[in-house]
Symmetry: D2
């Protein structure tokens, strides 16, 4: 299977290379970067020295790249994948976009939150979160890979939303992420002395992953859902922990909650149910495609608190993209995704 | 003013020394440690070398220590301050306890959450959070210094609870702390390779700071309050950020919220109101006695999200203790507490 | 090939499991721990949940374990492998010891530096550093796997010692390590708040890796060698950087130095020669079995400065052990060692 | 005493404000920044909120600023202080430059290593390292404040160079610094995910602090000195540790070494002699103006290894500048420099 990576020099692009390089059914034939065209990827990421030293091309030749590829992974900032999508519309190549352009069924929501016009509204697309949309992914032309915070958050509450065990109007998601999620471009807030020994929230009530989570909960519950989502920055590199709160509906017991998780995820390879009263830690999933989930019932307040942990660059980005690719290409879903968590 | 520190070799004790050493009206006359009796404090904390090299005594002679001191600061694990309190009951010395033993008006709450019998139930005591209980602190025999998470959390929502602008049954506090709050005793979870590049929640629905926060909100609002409180561990040394959620009561406007903060804290030296839509960062208060507060209104969900940041060892422990001491001793409240935040 | 791991719950043991679990020719049949006997390894290391949940046994049955195994990896503190070695002496099983017990040809050096009697002096053993002792490793009964600092340091200067390009009496090795090298047992110096934002040297002029490095340089150069070796602790988890200084012999040119590295390592899979004037970074090798090497000539002082970087738990411990295992078992040397560096 | 800070928004400038703000004899009258002119310093550094909110000016009016100031601190990149120096040449104001422009007696050395022409060669200047040049500093018009690596390195070996106890041609200094020394401008190498869990050397054999150290050792020993100096970057914010190696001259005993340190530094307030066989740690001096020093004799190699630790922003920059200021202004040398180390 011939694949290309558009925007290979960001952290998600680099992680994609790491995973796809080991995929037994894949040959990476093109990688692109506009700022480093002509250089070898190993000059930009010296850890690839002697391993993978392919030259970076420009995406100016996207039609040629698309024509030669079975799958194209797009790891560009939002707003740029639509161009790629339109240019490859009539080619047999399939597209997996790691950005937000193809995540929304209702593109007006995208336009409202991302402040850019959507230029490919009728694109044939599915939302790329395999544990929920697996069937749709199989036949999709374009897969809008789920975001990092959203993956952790949706997976945490999906069984409860689906089985209507919680009051969806009460959902509050307090999420924390390592800084690799903010990309590789240096800026003051992510400058080492500034971020080190520091912790803060950002984009309170306005983070763009909010409507993406709401869309999934609506799909699952059948209800319009509006939530609070608050992201925070952890002084570390990789990992997301989502702490999710919701009011239990009347008479819902702990056992019912347990059963809902078991029913939905009992056979999911990449979801590890740690169980009730357990504690996921981001380091236990670091480097792997796992999402670890645990839950707690607070009988005093009648709330359920669900904790979920992922590696934002793997299950939150590149790993999920390859999981979607495996589904769409007809491979075993875990091919090349059997990396163990990297500890300590 | 002669002061002694009981339990001087924990992080709170060491921070107390740092602050009191520079207090122009204070002489530290006794410091104790049961595990290091006879050693100099600078052997245990070499950063004190050439500065403060006092010998550590045992608290076996607590009556003598109490008789010679005007104030005794107790920085022992919970359950041990009650002994000190009883033994010094009939001496003129005043006691500032940094632990939990004297924080609860209703000692049955203490017994329920801390799982130890309270042996000094009729102790004359006040809760040591100056911005709320300043008047009571002035004349107190025993001051039960507020806890670290509780200080950040209570101060964040106090104006809204007091002015009844929020539905107190909807309060959720998602708090995050650096690991110095867990003390200086090595254990696996705080071993460097384990905690590094890791993030996790702990004690969900069961953390002992919960009833302490509820007690203060009841005092402020006049209502019984039950909350969700979730602590998390940040891979860093110092700092707490509390992210506090509550449903706004009907018709409460952003301006009303702003005014409530301004009214309650406008003249507070150690509270810096960063204002609506701002973002406290733990590093901006690190090493200082400040509590930085900002708030956000989410009109979509009609919730207010309040963010507060403190240094857990200063405003969350030793600094607050000295602030209480200054009040009780009749000094300017900020004496010796004018350390600037330590940046970067 | 049936293998067992004696002492599986330290960091080196856990890393061995991670590597051997993915080895296509290996079945792990026994893992031991004296402090956690009867528990599953995934209770001790939850990142193995759902992946590898084998029960930990005691090494009391070492003869049975040895009889059932083709290879036994020993990851015990020094002084304990000799017992294992003697008990398995007459069984066909081969032993790879990750500790120091079998590293010294002259056991009196071991006794002098490690302060314990050597009880298995006549053991048939070789020093386990494949790039230098490959041939001897093939047929060895017992392999004394090279230490972490020593691997980085020996590999850095080996070509220069071997070709006698430097004055071996001038060698100074200033080495720095992440703290995972100190093991998983919590202690004050490695307690997060203590080590965080801190840097220090330790064991100056007395570190036990010194004579191990000297033994290798003597083998290579044919001269008795005495060096300075200074270890430091970096506030991070994994990685060693060795900065190695030596006086160039008269008339030795930069080109001669370049050629020596190329000649010795040009075909070594796990050594990446970054070249003259380059800079290895520990993160570029993290998680992999690579040793990255670069060198600088200072014409002002006529010294060569060689920089080498490894992951202390991989090329410095478990990876190297598996590399030695592959050689001894007749597999391709890089089997199961093709993990890419883990970045960022 | 009226002082101004030229270049107040770098880390050294911000640290100068922190120290001078608390100096009882100082009024800060001007602070400048070309990139943030017109803003309040507390907008650039929010930790100063409510404490010090002075407006940043441009240095276009440097003559006016100089005329109104008794002292001007210059914290600009090298090459820019010479302009300031020339423009203030005929005013009574004294200048303390934290950069390199005025550090060299022989300006051709500056030009060779810094690759810019020196335009103020005849400036009346002294090297600003109080423990060695105290007398000269008292009357200086311009003080070229010693650099961060150089301060740690010179102080470590000064007694041995001065008393000719070591072979100065054998000196090797292996130094390690936290990243705040590289300034506040974001760049890839100091981007959090890149530097985190990473360690590397840089500028081997070419770092600009080399000739500055050599100049001081020549002053002390009376000999021309050429050294090896190798800087490394530690994944932390503040702190420098220098590990300094030198061959002992024949017959020099440990006692002689001890005595040399005691003689030179026994009365120095800011040097703490931890003694022979001790270990400085950067955290023990963090936030303070101390330089902690310890030394080890390796009888096997007849080398002395001296370890020194400073906070690069205090004793390595702003603290040292204020120490020099106190000397030049006739104040007690430690005024405003009595901050305790900040621990943990």
């Amino acid at each position: 299977m011939k694949v290309s990576i558009i925007g290979a020099t960001g952290y998600a692009g680099s992680e994609l290379i790491s995973i796809l390089y080991k995929h037994p059914e894949v040959e990476i034939i093109h990688i692109t970067s506009e700022s480093h065209t002509g250089k070898k990827i190993s000059e930009i990421y010296p850890h690839f020295t002697n391993i993978f030293e392919k030259e970076l091309e420009s995406l100016n030749d996207i039609e040629k790249i698309g024509a030669e590829s079975d799958f194209v992974f797009v790891a560009l900032p939002h707003g740029h994948a639509m161009d790629v999508g339109k240019k490859l519309e009539n080619l047999p190549v399939k597209i997996i976009d790691l950005g937000a352009d193809y995540r929304f069924r209702d593109t007006s929501i995208y336009e409202e939150w991302y402040k850019v016009p959507h230029t490919h509204k009728n694109a044939p697309r599915v939302y790329g979160l395999a544990e929920i949309y697996r069937e749709e992914i199989k036949a999709a032309k374009i897969i809008g890979n789920a975001g990092c915070f959203t993956t952790a958050s949706i997976l945490a509450l999906a069984p409860l939303a689906k089985h209507r065990l919680i009051d969806t109007s009460s959902i509050i998601i307090d999420a924390k992420s390592g800084v690799s999620g903010a990309g590789r471009s240096p800026k003051l807030g992510n400058h080492f002395p500034e971020l080190y020994d520091n912790f803060k929230a950002y984009n309170v009530a306005h983070h763009r992953h909010t409507p993406e989570i709401e869309q999934a909960f609506k799909d699952l519950s059948g209800e319009d859902v509006i939530i609070n989502f608050t992201p925070h920055l952890i002084p570390m590199s990789r990992g997301i922990l989502s702490t999710c709160y919701a009011n239990l509906k009347e008479d819902i017991s702990a056992g019912t909650i347990d059963a809902a998780f078991q029913k939905m995820y009992g056979n999911e390879k990449f979801i590890r149910l740690l169980g009730r009263n357990a504690y996921p830690e981001t380091k236990f999933v670091r480097g792997s495609n796992y999402c670890d989930i645990a839950w707690h019932i607070d009988e005093r307040t009648r709330r359920v608190i669900v904790l979920s942990a992922i590696d934002n660059l793997v299950k939150g980005a590149a790993g999920q993209a390859v999981q979607n690719f495996n589904i769409a290409a007809g491979f075993d879903e875990s091919t090349a995704l059997d990396r163990l968590p990297f500890y300590p």
